[in-house]
Symmetry: C2
Subunit: 367 residues, 2 copies
């Protein structure tokens, strides 16, 4: 693995010191910040998420805050999902598109107040986007990056840990809903969410000086359930069919291509950015689709930077946007962004690292 | 040094294989791509740039292409520098600002044709920005990312190497001007530019499949001058006073604060984004300025992610945005973003890694 050279362009998270103390060994960069990606024991970290509980530094999930009398209006203009019934305390997974209907982020929208929203973003610059739109349309709204840094607690035992910290009321929090509260005077919003399908919460820390303190509160509270450090788990998220914006998408991807059509409401107002293009795309039909790919063979693959070509006979029909050894399926698996005439059950060939590997297309998620 | 975990969110450059063959040991990420930052011999790589010639994978300097009848109009709307006299074949260093006059990128603008421009960008998403503005203002222009990947040849002997490849005409190319040509059928634009003050060229490769081939052409041509691999050199660029957007700037920085006032033309039309705010800021005076900081002591510092506080007595007056051991000055040096009542010659104290280090403020560049 190559080293990552430090510079002030890449911000450490409020949990940086705590993750160093836990023995972090590798990072990725995301929204110009460092995100831990390994503590040196990948399989152990995976099973901890599947069977137990794991705590993650996901401060890189930054918030684009919209505040002011036109905040709600701007939120709807930016999101292709109908937000008219979104309540204070509720979150929604949304597709943010450009004017051509191309996906430019897939954040969680959180409604904190009638005039205050957060877009808890994936890895692209929605501050620039939102500020440009707000200024050009003359909206009365301030777009900012507040001091908010999520810490995820994920896995089947996550609810017990979070309840031990905040009380049993957290057991009643519905999926994507959240509540502002505090622990030992540290302000947090507790949300039932997280980038895994193993269940759990995200604690939105609202004071960056308290990262180590919050990390250790979770660490201590989690001891009876054998909590340990982890990170958004590439294997689990691929098994579970979760999208990584910028990895599983490219500069032409629209929401329909990557199984996000259900989050697009074509009936929203015409001033919602991208909706007119999406109506045309929906009517005309998409050219690509996202399917699972199960590669033949049982030799675990290594993570890589490249997208591998997917072929049907001699015809290239698309590419793999990720590929990993699944500890549960005992196969190398990945997402294929492939032509829309491909179908579940089709046999294909993946051209990977000089090899031609037979594979099958399947419906996502894998598990 | 920590590892960097591979994923498709981080694109390798067309020169990736070539840099692997050269023995690259570390990367940074920049515009969601990997940029080599070390070949394992930092001091040797530094002196090669200062005394000889060095070739760099700077494919991360991506191009935001503006094409169409309104391309020139959009270019001017985005740039706070007067472009009315910019000629085809000419480049200009520009400040791109948001509506509040905050710097959001400092690219080189290249005018390829009356209706085609590139913004050769620093590390922020100007595609989103330019597309939002173009769409909201109804301009007839397409904003895209063309297949263009610069390779820099830098150092006092760079001109000899580039002349050996393309001919002696390159010796007459003026600073920031460029010419489209080809070598062995590979399309490139040859520009006199580069992120160092040691002189040299950037070869804008216009066919990503030919990265290794172009790398090796430069490598072979450079042998008489003992060329070797390098990268945008943190030590040299700090000695030379070159700005790194996102490292030396933050979410409030305007061009006047970071010595870019000479690239702002306050007389451009009112529809240039940020110009009205910049006129107000210019009139009111800035609150911060960028000065050099020379730290006492002669123990070389290590690169880090953090910005260290700069104090005058007990009063915090700003912070260091970078810090490195200068092999020419034999001192640790950095840029201070400090209060505008600080002055060259002032003694300050840098709070760094638990230490309090005496230091002096100086005018930039250091050398």
């Amino acid at each position: 693995m190559f080293g990552i050279t430090p510079s002030a362009r890449l911000r450490p998270s409020p949990y940086y010191e705590a993750t160093l103390a836990e023995g972090v060994t590798a990072f990725t960069t995301y929204n110009h910040m460092l995100m831990p990606t390994s503590y040196g024991h990948p399989e152990e970290e995976y099973w901890r998420l599947i069977n137990g509980v794991s705590q993650w530094d996901v401060a890189v999930e930054r918030q684009v805050q919209l505040q002011g009398p036109d905040a709600g209006r701007l939120a709807q203009i930016l999101c292709t999902r109908d937000l008219s019934r979104c309540q204070v305390g509720q979150g929604k997974y949304v597709a943010v598109c450009n004017h051509d209907g191309v996906l430019i982020n897939d954040p969680i929208l959180l409604k904190l107040d009638e005039d205050r929203y957060w877009l808890s973003i994936a890895d692209s610059n929605i501050w620039f986007w939102a500020r440009a739109i707000a200024a050009e349309r003359g909206l009365k709204v301030t777009v900012s990056e507040p001091d908010v840094s999520p810490l995820a607690v994920q896995g089947p035992k996550a609810e017990d840990v979070v309840a031990a910290i905040f009380g049993d009321w957290v057991r009643d929090v519905k999926y994507f809903w959240f509540k502002e509260t505090s622990v030992n005077g540290i302000p947090v919003a507790v949300a039932r969410s997280g980038w895994s399908k193993q269940g759990g919460f995200e604690l939105y820390l609202m004071d960056g000086s308290k990262g180590t303190q919050l990390w250790n509160i979770v660490r201590e509270a989690g001891k009876p359930w054998d909590i340990g450090p982890g990170n958004p788990n590439v294997c689990e998220r691929i098994e579970s069919g979760l999208i990584s914006y910028g990895g599983d998408t490219d500069g032409q991807t629209n929401p329909f291509e990557v199984r996000m059509g259900k989050y697009v409401d074509l009936g929203v107002a015409d001033d919602v950015i991208g909706i007119q293009a999406l109506r045309r795309i929906h009517q005309g039909g998409v050219k690509r689709q996202q399917l699972g790919v199960i590669l033949d063979g049982d030799t675990p693959t290594e993570l890589g930077f490249f997208r591998h070509g997917v072929y049907r006979g001699e015809q290239r029909v698309g590419h793999l946007t990720n590929c990993i050894w699944s500890w549960r399926l005992k196969r190398n698996i990945g997402f294929g962004l492939v032509a829309s005439d491909c179908a579940t059950g089709d046999r294909v060939v993946v051209h990977k690292d000089g090899q031609r590997i037979e594979a099958s297309l399947v419906t996502l998620p894998f598990i």
